[in-house]
């Protein structure tokens, strides 16, 4: 492990109003950003301003207020697309990452996957990138296969090659960054091998886009999904970036208003991209809020965000082993992992660890993290998990370590 940097790269805690809260006189330490991030004042104010000054339904209103609302929403789409090196027309807003994955499983999967085909995912997936594929395979008779995860928490490209060589894989779906292990997967390498084998790729980037620079075009993937609320934005909005040729040939996902070109008695024709996949009134305020969130992140600079996450993770990987009986999961090299650290402590169930941290106003998550297959692979029923974002500092990691030690004392360990 490299030396830990002296100071975190970013100091922006003051921008996040909720972080001024105290519980029983103790400053709130929020270490659950992998579940949902906190929101900077800029995002909260952008949403408030939208409702206070610009609210109207978008796309077909002829009056100035509706044009303004449309420009705010579509402007956010343009900036969200540019933020990750994608095109506006192929950047589709969904409810969240889960809905975006279900969109692909439904609209692409049901046309292109059939009995005898294989869908390949990995043992480190969130349930959102497992269950839609289980449903697709149950319906079509295709086979769901898993890539294994090593003891170091990594995937094997050799194993990927072996499975692809069978010639039956239609889709490879995997996380960019694991929400449990923090592992950063080699997305471009996996995508290149999948494409060479004639398979389409879908990447769940819910844990990647919030904390590292991403260029979707350079990664060479077919579908790339993430969610707004983990990227300092509001809940209720997720993003799907898709390859244009695939999106154009796909059937719509949900039917309704806004996604049509013309509706006749028996049939309809579809609106152009991206609106073909956005039925009903859009999450307008949420889109505006997400635009403000990525503006905020872009102002800091995603290289600096990543450096901050890496430094904090390295500091956590250095300090957590000081707690007796602790076992830390995933790669021990902060270069190869995102800002999330899962751990277990002998003689303390993760739920009790999280409860005891709460006594010290330290918020961590405990449970299976919607990754039960991975828990089985790791041989634990659950883990405790601390995750970081730009508003965390080294003193937050210190508070966590102190809380864990206090918890062990209460448990008589």
């Amino acid at each position: 492990m490299g030396a830990v940097a002296e100071t975190p790269a970013v100091d922006v805690r003051a921008d996040f109003p909720v972080l001024t809260r105290e519980f029983e006189g103790k400053r709130l330490v929020y270490l659950d950003s992998a579940a949902t991030s906190q929101k900077p004042r800029h995002v909260i104010e952008a949403i408030d301003r939208y409702y206070s000054e610009s609210n109207a339904n978008i796309h077909r209103g002829v009056y100035a207020l509706a044009r303004e609302a449309t420009d705010l929403y579509e402007g956010a789409r343009a900036r969200v697309a540019a933020f990750v090196g994608a095109d506006e027309a192929t950047t589709i807003f969904a409810k969240n990452a889960t809905e975006a994955i279900n969109l692909v499983a439904y609209s692409w999967g049901r046309e292109h996957v059939s009995a005898g085909d294989e869908v390949l995912i990995t043992h480190m997936e969130h349930h959102s990138n497992i269950v839609p594929w289980q449903l697709l395979c149950q319906e079509t008779g295709a086979k769901l296969r898993y890539l294994s995860v090593s003891d170091q928490g990594e995937l094997s490209l050799d194993e990927l090659e072996d499975v692809l060589a069978g010639g039956r894989v239609k889709l490879v779906a995997f996380a960019h960054v694991s929400n449990v292990l923090g592992t950063i997967n080699p997305v471009a390498e996996i995508a290149a091998r999948a494409r060479a084998a004639g398979a389409v790729t879908l990447v769940d980037a819910s844990q990647a886009v919030p904390q590292m620079p991403v260029n979707v075009a350079e990664l060479g993937v077919d579908f790339y999904v993430w969610t707004g609320h983990k990227a300092l934005g509001p809940t209720g909005i997720g993003v799907l970036h898709g390859r244009r040729e695939l999106l154009e040939r796909m059937r719509p996902f949900l039917g309704g208003g806004d996604m049509i070109s013309k509706v006749e008695f028996e049939t309809s024709s579809w609106n152009e991209l991206p609106w073909k996949f956005e039925a009903g009134t859009s999450p307008i305020a949420e889109g505006v809020g997400l635009g403000a969130a990525i503006d905020y992140l872009a102002d800091i600079g995603m290289e600096r965000v990543r450096a901050h996450e890496r430094e904090l993770t390295a500091y956590a990987l250095e300090r957590l082993p000081e707690v007796e009986g602790i076992r830390v999961f995933g790669p021990m090299d902060a270069e190869r992992r995102g800002g999330v650290v899962s751990f277990a402590i002998d003689g303390m169930h993760p739920h009790d660890i999280a409860e005891l941290c709460d006594r010290e106003a330290v918020c961590i998550r405990a449970g299976h993290h919607c990754a039960q297959p991975l828990m089985r692979r790791m041989g634990v029923p659950a883990t405790a998990r601390a995750s970081f974002h730009v508003y965390n500092g080294r003193e937050d990691v210190d508070r966590l370590v102190d809380a864990l030690r206090a918890g062990r004392r209460i448990f008589g360990l």
């Binding site: 993760p350 739920h351 009790d352 409860e355 039960q372």
Partner: protein, 126 residues
């Protein structure tokens, strides 16, 4: 002293009573708490309509394991029909601590499994 993690709670967690399996057995049930993945199973012997012996197994937090251990001592010797009717208040009385809403299912998992074993209906105790 900690209000939740009392000495006797931790003592039952570390040294659970009636932990293990029972073969042969008359009643058996396994279930889990979907919120956290905790798993719990029971084996029971029945004689003259009463629980003659009982073992539980599985993994869980201090609250769920202590609840299983503490209540198991009360359940042995109790008529099966009475076991099926025990409610959430009974379980929490047995524990003797205040249970917050977030930990309620931890405390009640054992009784959910006992309902499953005795009636076939593993609904959460109210």
């Amino acid at each position: 002293m900690d209000a939740l993690y009392r000495d006797y709670i931790l003592e039952h967690y570390k040294n659970p009573r009636n932990f293990g399996e029972l073969h042969p057995h008359d009643l058996e049930f396994h279930d889990h708490n979907p919120l956290c993945g905790d798993e719990l199973g029971v084996h029971a012997l029945v004689e003259d309509g009463k629980i003659a012996d009982l073992r539980f197994h599985g993994q869980g937090c201090a609250i769920s394991q202590a609840a299983a251990s503490i209540t198991s001592e009360e359940l042995i010797g109790m008529p099966v029909e009475e076991v099926a009717r025990l409610d959430a208040d009974w379980v929490i009385d047995q524990l003797g601590i205040e249970i917050s809403p977030t930990r309620r299912k931890c405390a009640l998992l054992m009784q959910k499994v006992m309902r499953g074993a005795t009636t076939g209906d593993p609904s959460w105790p109210e």
